[in-house]
């Protein structure tokens, strides 16, 4: 399962097994995003119909949660923890300029690595005790 698989002809195959689940909407949206990297806007009416919800219900959940997105992601994702424990260890000095399409840089509020602060996550890989120099190396070492 790699993110950004091609969209299947019938979007429903992505989440057919979840339709009967109680409270299925959030798991369905997370599944779509896990497969495609994002939730394409034209999936909203499909999900609404499959779960017998209104489009507003689906759009409402999609817009509420930080993790869910309606746009394709950049190739690489850097998330820098901006919460207190990382601030106490100088996370303000961790600054990286995003590169459209290639690298997105987002704040995250706590990765639970507060005793190994400051912490970042790059393409899912956790790093603690990060310095500005190490962070620059991580970013420079990202594959094209």
């Amino acid at each position: 399962m790699t993110p950004q698989d091609a969209s299947p002809a019938d979007p429903r195959v992505l989440f057919a097994d979840l339709i009967g689940e109680p409270g299925a909407l959030l798991p369905v949206l997370l599944r779509i995003q896990a497969r495609l990297g994002f939730v394409p806007p034209d999936y909203v009416p499909v999900v609404a119909e499959a779960l017998n919800l209104s489009r507003a219900d689906v759009q409402g959940v999609l817009s509420f949660y930080t993790d869910l997105r309606s746009e394709p992601p950049a190739r690489h994702a850097l998330r820098i923890c901006r919460a207190e424990a990382c601030q106490a260890m100088g996370s303000d000095a961790l600054q990286v300029t995003p590169v459209p399409g290639r690298l997105e840089v987002e704040p995250v509020y706590c990765l639970g690595l507060c005793a190994c602060a400051p912490a970042v996550v790059i393409d899912g890989a956790l790093h603690g005790r990060v310095t500005p120099e190490r962070l620059a190396t991580f970013v420079a070492d990202l594959p094209e």
Binding site: P27, C86, M89, L111, L113, C114
Partner: protein
């Protein structure tokens, strides 16, 4: 030659500082040297500043080596790592380490020791003794046991756990639920994560006991998406429990059913609030519900629901194994038992310290923590997460006890402590508290949704004002705003955000450009 077992933490914090690379290097180097070695990925012991900390099983017990980098591996093997040989990184027996020696581990008794993926290992270390005892008791007696233990909610609110259990037990319904709040979003807290990664079976056992006690056949775990390692550990442990007959239609042949589901969040801090969490589990926006009705009466899908935090539920097996009286014998005042304290931020020896309530913050920060990581003086400590007060030197001798902290206008919360050195910018931290609330507010109630944004603006005006009168006027406004948020918000997010803000203001008035007598609150 028999194979030597080396334990390398698979804990996310250990991985973040290189544990996976150390494990790979060790496997490769041992292979190249023809050494028979088996690596077991455990949780962490909680000596997090020593991670990656690996342990070798020797005839004399486990021997630990700390702060191991992959480059150290060949040298360690040269030094006789597999027989516990001398080396600069050698720590010795982990249990004898001063950081661990005086801890009293009830909840974290197995973390860092057992293989979290192995049900057999869990059983070999006392696992499921609590459930076996519980299954011989009537539900009312089980609830009475929890009440007698004095256990209170470890997620932060410290509500007496037994009262919740009794309420759900007394609720009449064909379907009830046990929900585990594993949405640990507070900076400075990581005990839930460590428990789920290091000893997930204890959480499963605790939930099973809870389900049997209150008459709930279904348990749901709501885990935050930032914890993928905990997700994998829980999935494996749930599969193991199902295979072993500890979950299913008849738990250990008792005729009582208990099934467990794992649900993942999607990045919303407010979902740590129990009613927002229930909304999210129902697949909706994580918007806070007005109470009453309490979740214990009308919770998930409108059914009676027991909502407890990870550490609360994971405390239950030990209480049943050793008896409520033994647990209640520990502690201070109305805070009974142990609390896994978490030292974080600018501290030399950050980690998890499980001790009975009652020790002082000074002992925690100095004796365990060794002071700041930077070597500079401690300026402030935020206790209890982003909604907790900033404490200063004057507060350090307070006993760690829910009531003692509340009496000082502070929050013990989940026992997470973030240490700041003398470079901390208090107005900036106060502004951050408001900005965080604004970003994470669910939007349902006005004091939180609007108040937090106004709070950011007012703090900016205080800090930016040239004239003292302007600053003083805006401080009065900030206090009024905080009063509205405290008393008018629907949940703890808006209701407690004033704590860090006002504690920063009251304890560091000069940093806000205010004379201390001008702020002596209303």
């Amino acid at each position: 030659m028999s194979e030597t077992v080396v334990y390398v933490p698979g804990d996310a914090a250990a991985i973040a500082v290189g544990a996976d690379r150390v494990a790979q290097a060790l496997q490769a180097e041992a292979g190249a040297r023809g050494l028979a070695l088996r690596i077991v990925r455990t949780g962490s012991r909680g000596l997090l500043w020593l991670e990656p900390m690996l342990e070798v099983a020797t005839p004399a017990g486990r021997i630990a080596y700390g702060q191991v980098a992959e480059a150290d591996v060949p040298g360690l093997l040269d030094a006789g790592l597999l027989t516990g040989g001398a080396h600069a990184l050698r720590i010795g027996a982990p249990e004898a380490h001063p950081y661990l020696r005086d801890q009293q581990r009830w909840v974290f008794a197995r973390s860092g020791i057992v293989d979290p993926a192995s049900l057999d290992d869990y059983l070999a270390h006392g696992g499921y003794r609590g459930l076996r005892r519980a299954l011989g008791m009537l539900p009312a007696a089980m609830v009475a046991e929890v009440e007698a233990s004095g256990l209170r909610g470890r997620g932060g609110a410290a509500f007496p756990t037994g009262i919740k259990w009794r309420t759900v037990l007394g609720a009449n319904a064909t379907q009830k639920y046990v929900v585990c709040n594993a949405d640990e979003g507070d900076s400075g807290s990581y005990s839930d994560r460590m428990l789920m990664e290091g000893d997930p079976c204890a959480l499963i056992e605790g939930m099973t006991i809870a389900g049997v006690a209150v008459g709930a056949s279904e348990g749901w775990i709501y885990l935050r998406s930032e914890y993928p390692h905990a997700k994998r550990a829980l999935e494996t442990a749930i599969e193991g429990a199902v295979r072993g007959g500890y979950l299913g239609n008849s738990v250990l042949g008792s005729g009582r059913a208990f099934h467990l589901r794992l649900r993942i969040g999607a990045g919303a801090y407010v979902c740590g609030e129990e009613t927002a969490l229930l909304e999210s589990l129902e697949g909706k926006r994580g918007v806070v519900r007005a109470k009453p009705p309490l979740p214990a009466i009308a919770g998930l899908f409108g059914r009676p629901t027991l909502v407890n935090n990870v550490v609360t539920l994971a405390s239950v097996p030990a209480i049943f194994e050793h008896g409520a009286a033994a647990y209640a014998a520990l502690g201070s005042g109305r805070s009974r038992g142990t609390l896994p304290l978490q030292l974080a931020g600018n501290v030399k020896r950050g980690g998890l310290v499980e001790v009975p309530f009652g020790i002082s913050l000074r002992a925690l920060i100095q004796d365990y923590g060794g002071g700041t990581a930077s070597g500079r003086p401690v300026k402030a400590v935020q206790a209890g997460g982003p909604l907790g007060a900033y404490l200063t030197e004057r507060d350090f001798d307070l006993p760690l006890d829910y009531e003692a902290y509340a009496a000082r206008g502070a929050l013990l919360g989940h026992g997470g402590f973030v240490v700041f050195d003398d470079r901390a910018d208090m107005p900036k931290l106060a502004r951050y508290a408001m900005a965080f609330c604004a970003a994470e507010s669910c939007g349902k109630c006005t004091p939180c949704r609007i108040g937090s944004t106004r709070g950011v603006e007012v703090i900016d005006r205080i800090v930016g004002a040239r004239a003292v009168e302007d600053r003083t006027r805006n401080v009065v406004l900030l206090r009024e705003l905080c009063d509205t948020m405290t008393h008018g918000s629907l949940c703890a997010l808006g209701g407690l955000t004033p704590l860090p803000v006002l504690s920063a203001l009251d304890k560091f008035p000069a940093e806000f450009g205010i004379a201390s007598d001008a702020v002596a609150g209303s």
